[in-house]
Amino acid sequence: MPIYSQKVMEHFMNPRNVGEIENADGIGEEGNPVCGDMMTFYIKVKNGRLEDVKYKTFGCGAAIAVSSMVSEMAKGKTLKEALKITPKLVADELEGLPKNKFHCSNLGAQALQKAIEDYQKKQAGGKV
């Protein structure tokens, strides 16, 4: 049996929304090359919604599929809704991840969260 679900393979082979956003409203980075996976998420916010979500990912098949899935799940959502995306929900949407990959590769939700926090910090800074 292959180690990855069909859904993981599909996203790995055809990842959605890959790239960077110039002048992004928020940037979030998670992971490091020592553990093997690293993701940077970029967001564009308009009227409290994630107008665009892009990312760059260094890592295994699971890490790439997770990034792709998170970008799909988050796009168009309000910030509040997007913050509710958890690693568990991402894994479920991907029809499961291998047990040993759940923690190390499933960093997309955290990276997105960091990008949103980065945006919120900038907003707060701007108002002061």
Partner: protein, 394 residues
Amino acid sequence: MKKVYLDNNSTTPLLPEVRDAMLPYLAEYFGNPSCLHEWGDAPREAIETARNQVASLIGAGPEEIIFTSSGTESNNFAVKGLAMAQQKKGKHIVVSAIEHFSVLNSAKTLEKMGFSYTTVPVDKVGLVDPEKVRKAIREDTTVVSIMHANGEVGTLQPIKEIAAITKGKGIVFHTDAVATAGTIPVNVKELGVDALSLAGNMFYGPKGVGALWLKRGTRIMPLLDGGVQEGGRRAGTENVPGIVGLGKAAELGKAQMTVRNEQMVKLRDRLIRELPARIDHVIVTGHAQNRLPGHASFCVEFVEGESMLMLLSSKGIAVTSGSACTSRSLLASHVLLAMGLPHEIAQGSLLFGLGINNTADDVDYVLEVLPPIVERLRQMSPLYSKFMKQGKGG
């Protein structure tokens, strides 16, 4: 789709001649070789034929061959069994930093039992310096275990030179020859070792069978207690079909070695020359020439090994990687780290194990397919975009 198997370092395919030799022992010759009636005769004889074939492959005496279940068992048996048998003399052993886990973890287990061990480092091409082995040896050292070649980086070790150092010191020198026996000439007398491990599935024999060669007169403590199979040193009813297959593979390996390697070295050298020429920021790991004939290993910077492996697999190409993500333990290869490669580079490890079935077409196919895969992964790699920005920004 074209299928190209380039993972002969993980396991080799079973040769049809080997399979044919094994089949009767899975059918009519099912008897237990320990039995004295007629059913025991053919299996017993077959085991002794295989013992001769394996002995002949490595220039040893047949009575010095102990059949085991794998290279891993042979290594466990050697390291633990030799250390235990000599514990009244001393309780210190020496290993290298790039040994297989079956050696390294055996040393760790011995440590828990009151032994101690010293790990000898390697240089950046994965070579053990014999002088460092000399320095690691103490009064109470009883076993030195240094592999003949490392399966991950292919570098061949100076076993003869190390044997010259251990000689006359009352030390038993074991070498893990799982990557070399049946593949390149291995002669225990020329190497000067006292014990040597080999495994059938590394040279077109079956899985689940290996052997430990032990120089006549060398004491070892059995790992398995039971009956008196294998001269009382390895109990358990023999894996007759496996042993027969190992013997046949040894015979064919010896006879065909020169021809096999001539072709493989050409393909290997083409990969080692062409991949770095076609893809920027590719490092050849291990020794450039002094390496296994079918072995080409690289680190591709800014990308991760498993994603390369999977994209190659989607094109019908089988390779392996020493990246953290590929390993079940999620740790980067201890071999690459011991050679001083930083984690982020070790993560881009890619390992090609050529075999006797590979052709120049296969290598051309890899050279055609891999560059766009690397390019695609680099386009989505945050490490690569950082590098490009820094590089361009000065």
